[in-house]
């Protein structure tokens, strides 16, 4: 592969891409917005691979609604999501998250599919999609089409069930226009910060009772996670100060954060309760 160890190919259709990826196997590395891949190359985290450039594939772009389902093409950029009236209305939690995703320049390049594929526990695009109970649609020559619940997609930091040869084509979820949403990111700066902790919440009310709630947490476990116990606790309850106080204690038992350069495990655990309280208050407001 030459001195650099890298090769490049730019397939012109999705079908061609699947063929290339199938032949490249473990050596294939999909490049779209390249906001993760280029820094990883420079940091020598990636070497000796075939860069499969899909950035120009129109088939993988755009936002569609069919009945109750919203489908986002994997090459849709974060800026395009922010400019979409559909996302603002039908997926408020995702729209709010896009506002604090990286910075405006990176948002012009970074794609939602790339954010999923990168499998960061802190991914600001993934946490809201998890709260939306999204499904990742992937395709390959070997296995055809697979629809993978996002909840089952990640296996660890930087790791997922995506196999060599598989391409994320889109992500889909049900509309949430009738629900309340909140996304809160806690980072050390407002822009270009990796989340210390983040929360995405989608709540449906029946009068003043919680009919259903989904809560997703970022950077608080080896993968983005749902707070299932807290969700169960809240379902069917009327929201008052005591319920919020109890839930904000319970949710701290559902996380398993690390200590790193940005914050300690204890601090992140404490933050979990604080973010929960802020998120539910924002959703109620």
């Amino acid at each position: 592969m030459g001195v650099s160890g890298f090769a490049y190919i730019s397939p012109s259709t999705k079908e061609e891409t699947l063929t290339v990826l199938s032949e490249a196997g473990e050596k294939g590395r999909i490049v779209a917005g390249s906001t993760n891949v280029l820094p990883d190359i420079r940091a020598r985290k990636i070497a000796g691979c075939i860069l499969v450039d899909i950035s120009h594939l129109r088939e993988l772009k755009g936002i569609e609604i069919a009945g109750d389902t919203v489908t986002i093409g994997s090459l849709t950029t974060i800026s395009e999501l922010l400019q979409s009236a559909v996302i603002a209305k039908e997926a408020g939690v995702l729209w709010q998250a896009c506002r604090c995703f990286a910075d405006p320049l990176v948002r012009n390049r970074a794609t939602i599919g790339g954010n999923i594929a990168n499998a960061s526990p802190a991914a600001d695009g993934v946490v809201p999609l998890l709260a939306l109970e999204a499904t990742v649609n992937v395709e390959s020559k070997a296995r055809g089409k697979r629809a993978i619940p996002l909840d089952e997609f990640f296996t660890g930091p930087g790791k997922s069930v995506l196999e060599p040869g598989e391409l994320i084509t889109s992500v889909s979820f049900a509309k949430t226009s009738a629900m309340k949403s909140a996304f809160i990111k806690f980072g050390l700066r407002k822009a270009m910060a990796i989340s210390l902790a983040s929360i995405g919440m989608v709540v449906g009310f029946n009068g003043d009772t919680i009919a259903r709630v989904s809560i997703a947490l970022g950077a608080l476990a080896p993968t983005p996670v749902r707070a299932r116990e807290t969700e169960k606790y809240l379902a069917g309850k009327k929201i008052d100060d005591e319920i919020i106080a109890r839930a904000s204690e319970l949710i701290k038992t559902e996380v398993n954060p690390i200590s790193d350069v940005r914050a300690s495990r204890d601090y992140r655990q404490h933050l979990t309760g604080v973010l929960f309280r802020r998120a539910i208050e924002a959703a109620l407001a």
């Binding site: 090769a7 490049y8 390249s34 906001t35 280029l38 320049l105 390049r109 407002k190 270009m192």
Partner: protein, 163 residues
């Protein structure tokens, strides 16, 4: 379609096609500085944090260190030197000078390009929107206030309003 160790690309830089053979992992930033001679595009962190390498790719401000040179094939790139006759860029440059928004000047080309691209999409921003728009461009000298003032003044003069 073939797997390539070297890719021949033609990038339209400030209206002039620049043709070169690039390596797969070469960034648009390196292409612009070392192949197109566009040294007005600055290299700061080279990992997507600082925004000094901002250029306008087609219609969008992007960090050129985060774009593969190969991905800019057959596309148009504008850097600050290519916009010297652009009325909005001229207005921004004058406003930066009169407001003292330039100190060491290293962030200035990127800051100007981000500001121009932003004002084209949002002609009547408020201060909060301006601050958000330049969130990807770091300045270690000015404390940002003068930069925000400079951009706000241009927005106000173009719309007749005060930002």
């Amino acid at each position: 379609m073939e797997i390539m160790r070297e890719i021949t690309v033609t990038v339209n830089v400030n209206g002039i096609p620049v043709r070169a053979a690039v390596s797969p992992q070469e960034s648009l930033l390196d292409f612009l500085r070392y192949r197109a001679g566009a040294t007005d595009v600055k290299c700061g962190c080279n990992k997507g944090d600082c925004g000094t390498c901002t250029v306008i790719l087609e219609d969008r401000a992007v960090k050129s260190c985060l774009v593969l040179a190969a991905q800019a094939d057959n596309r148009r790139v504008w850097t600050v030197r290519g916009l010297e006759k652009d009325p909005l860029m001229q207005a921004l440059q004058e406003s930066f000078a009169t407001h003292g928004a330039v100190q060491c000047g290293f962030c200035t080309p990127g800051m100007l390009l981000t500001a121009k691209n932003f004002l084209e999409h949002n002609p009547k921003p408020d201060r909060a929107e301006i601050k958000e728009a330049i969130a990807g461009n770091l300045c270690r000298c000015t404390g940002y206030k003068k930069i925000v003032d400079a951009i706000a003044a241009v927005a106000a003069s173009r719309t007749g309003d005060r930002a």
